[in-house]
Symmetry: none
Subunit: 158 residues, 2 copies
DNA sequence: ATGCTCAATGCATAATTATTCGATTGCGGT
DNA sequence: ACCGCAATCGAATAATTATGCATTGAGCAT
């Protein structure tokens, strides 16, 4: 089932048939009927992207309910969702693919980085609340493992 | 078109036909074809609610792109989305209808209330980050215009 | 081992949603 | 006023998605 999430996170998918094609090409055997049911269960939806097309997307809320095992095993998956990170004072803002902020936030929580008090996830943004004596360099280092090719900017306000 | 947003914000809608019914009962004349197109334009989607049913919901991202005029003219609409507010220290938590946090947050941003540093929206919750010297009473006053019948609680933590 | 229950799945189809294809309307520009 | 031209809409239809029903198989108690 994770495969479905992975597919819609990685590719621009506009119909269940496309997902089906991907799935079968990866060796899964199922029909559109089961796919529809799986999608319902995973709370994945086909949403207009504002550019005249449709795209399958994970529903905003359901993410928070994912099981730890599911998440921790999906490190590669997460890696493709986190886009950038930027610091500001005692906070950091982590940008993700649309809809995946909660997944990434959970991942960050689970990795218990020293100096990170907690996270708050929107749709494509994660707010990290840092301890006042946080070592930003350390945090950057840990997080940058998940965010290849993107330089982290550090900005200090007040 | 605002009417569509209002309907899906107010009622539990599971199909376009239901929206259509609501619309016609309000005097609008259109067919499912146009409705589908409008819905696409408004970026409204049919998402599984995790309880075995479907529900039409505003897409999480699109909200941020709404035009000021659209927003400011939709004050009535917003008013029906904000549910309650509660203060704690330098923060305030504003509860909204599911899926509307972003809209409300944007509204708050746009109104530039003194003392509000910024907002972070989840799905049905908006976090307001306040300045340390913020005048909570003022903020309450401004915001309470949008939140009728709900007493604001003010709690001070450390 | 047998039979029962329950969950999962495919098939076929219903239900729903998107889009094509005219037809119509409104709007400059001449 | 007349002519494109573009936008918009409805009807019909295509495309897509959800689901009723039957079947299968796993787990389990007898």
């Amino acid at each position: 089932m994770l495969a479905i999430r992975e597919i819609i996170a990685t590719k621009d998918i506009a119909s269940q048939d496309e997902i089906l094609t991907e799935l079968t090409s990866r060796g899964f055997e199922l029909t559109q009927a089961t796919l529809s049911r799986d999608i319902k269960e995973l709370q994945i939806a086909k949403v207009p992207d504002g550019m005249g097309r449709y795209r399958y997307r994970i529903a905003p809320n359901q993410v928070a309910r994912m099981q730890p095992t599911e998440l921790t095993s999906g490190a590669d998956f997460i890696r493709s969702c986190a886009l950038s990170i930027e610091f500001s004072g005692q906070m950091a803002v982590l940008k993700t693919r649309p809809g995946y902020a909660s997944v990434v936030a959970d991942m960050v929580d689970k990795s218990q980085i020293d100096g990170v008090m907690g996270t708050l996830a929107g749709d494509d943004t994660v707010l990290l609340v840092l301890r006042t004596n946080a070592n930003n360099a350390l945090i950057t280092h840990v997080l940058s493992q998940w965010i290849p090719d993107i330089e982290s900017k550090i900005i200090h306000n007040a």
